[in-house]
């Protein structure tokens, strides 16, 4: 298959492996931002191809994982209401709230539907004018434009029974939070290729300068990641700190202007709470005043729900690269994909799920 096989080639992987080994002389800690990259790294054992002195830590770029428990509780409150059709990406359904998840709401008679695009949810709203249709807008800059487009169209078409529960978050503020932490150990970043497809990478340039940290825009296939790692290590070894693009087949420096435009028209930057991390200022997107009528939290009075994370789940530390999933006492025992304590164990992009699935093999614990 084109654009896939050539990036999963064993011979070229060995060449990259040798090249990285050649340039590495000192220990380095590098964080991949995106959960998709985390999964590729663990799935293909890319960390095992690296010199022992290079440590990979996994970043906050799993949209499901960073959505705080109180946002899930708000989703559950809205989804359980009579007459509501609650639409969500499939990933969100099994994320635990304080007491239950969205699949339990569905089992108890709530109309919870998996959609593939926010525009599908808008279509459902148009087909069911007597019902309230709510879309759970989750994700980073990658998915925000599509959510924005759905609300924008809803307003243009006058679809009053459509609204959004917005939990969108932004990557650069999270990176800044990690870099400015007193115990930060991340020395270089692989930036999330798909976020950069939308946003470009100019916004990473000030970060790279301010914190003297290399940031390499990286794709998701094994060779993409090895390429990104090679560039990152080379910068670190040479004492450079620049933004480089290792994903040129997809990402341009300025990103996708029309997508950014619709995002800016519909959303404004707001403070947002992150699971296990807490509130980060200017780290999320909320609806602008002129779209307030489409805000499900206001419409259904869910904005006052507050909840605390499970004290046993170390999602916050995992999401900031401070701990590996296997360093959690509950990993694979009290926390499994079947009975998760936190989102990183159930999300398809969660670091805990990746370690469980590709390294732990659940059956070993069942013996």
């Amino acid at each position: 298959m084109r654009f896939q096989d050539e990036y999963r080639d064993a011979e070229r992987a060995r060449q990259f492996q040798a090249a990285i080994a050649r340039v590495t002389t000192r220990p380095w800690t590098i964080m991949e931002i995106c959960g998709g990259q985390t999964h590729a790294i663990v799935r293909y054992g890319i960390d095992e191809l690296l010199p022992a002195s290079i440590t990979l830590v996994h970043g906050p770029g799993c949209p499901v994982c960073v959505t705080p428990v109180e946002m899930i509780d708000r989703a559950i409150r809205v989804a359980a209401r009579d007459g509501v059709i609650f639409c969500s990406f499939g990933d969100m359904l099994r994320v635990p709230g304080s007491r239950e998840d969205l699949t339990s709401v569905r089992a108890q008679g709530g109309d919870v539907r998996v959609v593939y695009s926010p525009l599908d949810a808008l279509q459902i709203a148009r087909e069911h004018p007597q019902r309230e249709v709510v879309f759970f807008g989750v994700g980073f800059e990658t998915t925000a434009p599509a959510t924005a487009m759905a609300v924008h169209q809803a307003r243009q078409l006058g679809v009053g029974n459509f609204s959004l529960l917005v939990a969108h978050v932004l990557v650069p503020p999270a990176m800044e939070a990690i870099l400015s932490a007193p115990d930060n150990r991340v020395q270089g970043f692989l930036a999330a290729g798909h976020v950069c497809t939308v946003m470009g990478y100019t916004e990473y340039e000030p970060l790279s300068r301010r914190y003297r940290v290399p940031i390499v825009v990286t794709g998701f296939e094994p060779l993409d990641i090895l390429h990104g790692l090679y560039l990152c290590v080379a910068q670190l070894e040479e004492g450079r700190a620049e933004v480089e693009n290792a994903y040129t087949r997809v990402v341009r420096r300025e990103g996708n202007a029309p997508a950014q435009d619709v995002m800016r028209r519909v959303f404004r930057v707001v403070p947002r709470k992150w699971r296990g991390i807490g509130e980060i200022s200017e780290s999320g997107l909320g609806l602008r005043e002129e779209y307030a009528a489409f805000d499900a939290e206001l419409k259904f009075g869910a904005e006052d729900i507050r909840a605390e994370e499970s004290p046993e789940c170390i999602a916050g530390l995992v999401l900031q690269g401070a701990k590996k999933p296997t360093e959690c006492a509950a990993f694979g025992t009290r926390c499994t994909p079947e009975r998760p304590l936190g989102a990183p164990m159930v999300s398809t992009e969660g670091a805990c799920a990746a370690y469980y699935r590709y390294r732990h093999a659940g059956m070993a614990s069942n013996e």
Binding site: A13, R94, E338, M363, A364
Partner: protein, 355 residues
């Protein structure tokens, strides 16, 4: 066993229930009265034609030859009822027949229980019954007993079907995970993931340049030939829900042996790979309905492969791995880039991802 297919199927050539009178299934079609009798006789008995059904007894009375029997049951609740490459009727035969074949049995007879939802278009039921008949003919099995119920509108999903099957075993092999020996090889009968993606595509409105058709098929013919060739089959397993990985993990666990496979030997059609990339699925976990693995001594692997490949459903068969003696019961895979990882069973359902 597919030599029956070019004969004209028995039974009526068009929907036997007058459409003008009953365009949809009605509650009375399950009520035990005249309407029900008409439906049973004209739709089911006349179409599925077997001496046992035509006898219209309470059950089928069957002669049994010496040897062992295999007995299995499966229920089919698929939505949509019709999908590229099959429908709930053919699926209800393939699922049960393949389970019998995996026991090393020759499928002999089936039962078919239909739970119909009030309002189901009669024409749809007709198509489903015809498809079930054709699949049974192709698999060399006959429907000898059945049942029909009608549930209120909203209490079913069009139609649910349960089939149970009896198969005959006329060899002495002990086919099952505990017969697996270290050094045995694992042969996979074809490409994977097509059924799951074909169904998912209909549900989600995904479109492909070349449509993905389900792999739903009977593998009883292939298995019969493997057995007739005198191969020392240690274990067989069809890949259904949970896909290849769940089947292998189950086998490893039961056999208490490690299983090792090679990713590059596993054939996945480009459209299926593309859809999986987009939806965030792993083809190893996607459902199949006409694929199986056979595990047997290495020395016999090439012969098995040649037999499977002669069949249209087995063209992409490959040796994908080996069973290893005296190791922890885990499944590992060498990836395309040469690294090794563990394979776990599917947890919950595969849900489409965010981005």
């Amino acid at each position: 066993m597919s030599d029956n297919t070019d004969k004209h199927p028995p039974g009526p050539r068009s929907c036997p229930i007058p459409i003008a009178q009953y365009p949809h299934v009605m509650a009375a079609h399950g009520g035990g009265g005249k309407l029900m009798h008409e439906l049973v006789r004209r739709m089911f008995v006349a179409t599925l034609k077997s001496p046992e059904l035509e006898a219209e007894h309470d059950g089928a009375v069957l002669p049994v030859s010496p040897g062992r029997l295999a007995f299995t049951t499966d229920s089919f609740v698929i939505s949509p009822l019709f999908f590229p490459g099959g429908d709930i009727g053919s699926l209800a035969v393939h699922g049960t027949v393949n389970d019998l074949a995996m026991c090393g049995a020759r499928p002999y007879v089936l039962s078919a229980g239909f739970i119909l939802e009030e309002g189901l278009p009669m024409e749809d039921l007709w198509r489903i019954v015809c498809s079930l008949r054709d699949a049974a003919l192709e698999a060399g099995v006959r429907v000898v007993t059945g049942d029909t119920k009608v549930v209120e509108r909203g209490k079913g999903d069009g139609v649910f079907i349960n089939t149970s099957g009896i198969g005959l075993i006329d060899h002495d092999l002990r086919i099952g995970p505990t017969s697996i020996r270290g050094g045995d090889v694992i042969v996979l009968s074809g490409d994977i993931g097509r059924h799951g993606i074909a169904v998912m595509a209909v549900r989600s409105g995904l479109e492909f340049e070349r449509p993905v058709t389900s792999d739903s098929a009977s593998v009883a013919g292939i298995v019969a030939e493997l057995l007739a060739a005198g191969l020392e089959i240690h274990c067989m397993r069809d890949l259904t829900r949970g896909g290849l990985s769940s089947a292998l993990v189950e086998i490893a666990h039961k056999a208490r042996r490690a299983v090792h496979i090679e990713e590059k030997q596993i054939v996945v059609m480009p459209e299926v790979r593309g859809a999986c990339e987009m939806l965030g699925f792993d083809p190893l976990y996607v459902a199949n309905e006409g694929r199986f693995v056979v595990i047997l001594p290495a020395a016999q692997a090439e012969r098995a492969l040649a037999i499977i490949r002669r069949h249209p459903h087995g063209r992409d068969a490959r040796i994908i791995g080996t069973a290893v003696a005296d190791e922890r019961p885990i499944v590992t895979m060498t990836s395309r880039i040469g690294t090794r990882r563990m394979i776990d069973m599917l947890s919950g359902e595969q849900l489409p991802r965010i981005c």
